[in-house]
Symmetry: C2
Subunit: 359 residues, 2 copies
């Protein structure tokens, strides 16, 4: 590990330990982020699934609990292109599942999340609230938006799955890169979900980015404990981002079905699926991933239009006591998840990092 690489990151983010709790829209909470921040790591909230008002409330809820650094994550996808024929066909395709669950099938779908690329209210809210860190997923915003955030003194992180994406992020003004390996749970950060994906694992991606880039690299994907974090640092990363490790904390919004699935054999069989939301995301193997296994991506509506139906199907499933249609995002390290409170988890990770064995 490079001591200076780590200390540069700690100083950049004003944190004590080189650990980032991944922003997980719909799962992470201001309470989780505050517990993590108070334990000396970087707590994160995802505001990609809410609007400026929702973001303001989440930031305020964090600040009631912590005065440490907060990372606010925004989704920078190309806004969805509606396609009525494709959406109608998609609804028709999923109708038998709704019917089996005794639920009403939605008749239309909408773009349930607004991309940060076009959300002026969210930009204004962040510039005013000035969280320590803003992080980008699925791409990066325009130079004007990046400049507004930088001028407000905000540190910028961007998620990259390849050397090309990392270079675009740094050219576009981010301060550090989250190297998201193919192992990682939840939405894969690829800028273009229709482009071919080299599926780089955390080990190779981290080492390539460390060797080729001149900004701090944070490893993400398959890292669940202090040994994993130490391994990432040994690869030259400045820190590590963990998401799946926090899904099973009490501060998480994961429901009972999700938590039971995390503790089941499904944790050994995560699947990269596009059928739930319209973008590739890694999920515990469940009924939804099995249903989506052989679907041609061209038949799936754009993200997040497809997610409108995916969420409706999950709600229908829950109403019928069938948790298998949930967006149960998880990385390949899922079998190693623990259920400690978030602050205790951070303290445990730190203790494991400094232990000799890392086991």
């Amino acid at each position: 590990m490079s001591f200076s690489a780590v200390s540069t990151l700690l100083s950049l983010l004003s944190i004590d330990h080189p650990i980032v709790q991944a922003p997980m829209a719909g799962i992470s909470t201001p309470e989780m982020a505050a517990a993590v921040a108070n334990a000396g790591a970087l707590g994160s909230i995802g505001v990609g699934a809410t609007d400026a008002n929702g973001a303001r409330k989440m930031i305020a809820a964090f600040r009631e609990r912590s005065d440490r650094s907060l990372n606010v994550n925004v989704f920078c996808h190309s806004p969805a292109k509606a396609d009525a024929a494709r959406e109608t066909a998609w609804i028709r395709r999923l109708r038998p599942e709704f019917e089996r669950l005794g639920a009403t099938t939605p008749r239309t779908l909408s773009e349930i999340y607004r991309s940060f690329l076009v959300d002026d209210d969210m930009l204004a809210a962040l510039v005013v609230a000035r969280p320590k860190v803003v992080s980008f997923h699925f791409g990066l915003p325009s130079p004007e938006r990046v400049r507004a955030l930088r001028d407000a003194g905000i540190v910028l992180l961007g998620s990259a799955t390849s050397l090309d994406e990392a270079r675009r992020l740094v050219a576009g003004g981010v301060h550090a890169i989250v190297a998201q390996g193919y192992e990682a749970g939840g939405h894969r950060g690829v800028f273009d979900p229709d482009a071919s994906d080299d599926r780089l694992g955390t080990m190779a991606l981290t080492r390539i980015l460390v060797r080729e880039m001149n900004v701090p690299i944070l490893s993400a994907g398959g890292i669940m404990d202090g040994a994993g974090i130490s391994a990432a640092l040994r690869l030259g990363a400045s820190g590590a981002q963990l998401g799946t490790a926090f899904v099973t904390t009490p501060e998480s919004l994961a429901d009972d079905g999700y938590r039971r699935a995390m503790a089941s054999d499904a944790a050994h069989h995560t699947v990269m699926t596009r059928a739930i939301s319209g973008r590739p995301a890694r999920c515990l193997a469940n009924r939804f991933t099995a249903w989506g296994a052989d679907i041609d991506p061209r038949e799936i509506p754009d993200y997040p239009i497809a997610y409108d139906l995916g969420k409706a199907l999950n709600a229908a499933g829950k109403g019928a006591n069938e948790p298998g249609f949930g967006a149960q995002w998880a990385g390949q390290g899922a079998p190693l998840a623990r259920s400690l409170p978030a602050g205790e988890l951070v303290a445990t990770l730190v203790a494991e990092m400094s232990s000799d064995r890392g086991e």
Copy 2:
């Protein structure tokens, strides 16, 4: 890192450094294995593409150059099932490529390699030659064959891509596991190429196997330098196996086209393909992987029958100055490959492991 995990492995294999040069049938050579062995790591040869006589000659060639430990790797796939209709259709499908290259299209295909599962001559040759180590890929042989090797005092390694495969290997009598992550180059060791594949990355797979198994684990996939090896040890692995790092050594049989491709942008875009050999294998992006991108696996003849045609196409390509049909196996760490002689590469890896920065 666990000092005792590493020292157990060093003592088991009678080597000085926790590094294995991967057996790469058709690429690695007795000269490479001897240079690696003389530098204190484990040198390997692959005999899956030859017969007992060929194996005896390779072992003798190694022993002329080194008295250190040698690993002899055998392929333990289910013997191919011939299917004349599928093979004829496959030949027809590739005929335009042969014609474009001005070459004659083969009229029939055969099972060019014999599986170790049914090769009594190979078993007898190994029991007599008694290399320090025999390693299994694609599965494991019958209890009787394992017993014959163990009774000869041979240490057994097995390649696993999942916890289930690792458990089967240990139940079947292997002494240590090579944890092959999805990043790894060349043939993926999955026991059943038709079963669903969880595609575990090196980081997650290593950590899960270290936590669940009681035998030494060697990490493989995406590891190219001392930092990568140290990271694997930090995950609790007892050592690391590197293949792609040795492809570009002077002792390798890689031809000029392969070496040029390794130094090109193709190294950033490796592809898991089944079209070349009949089993999934990670290859530099080239004309063959592009051609095979959208093919239904059920149309591909069994391994290694498909490989008979793949090798013929490569030969046709080379005759027409088109290197893009080669089996240019490489892992995701390919952009980090160097061209040092194999012994110098081992010395460099060892020096990098003990350096503070690992860069």
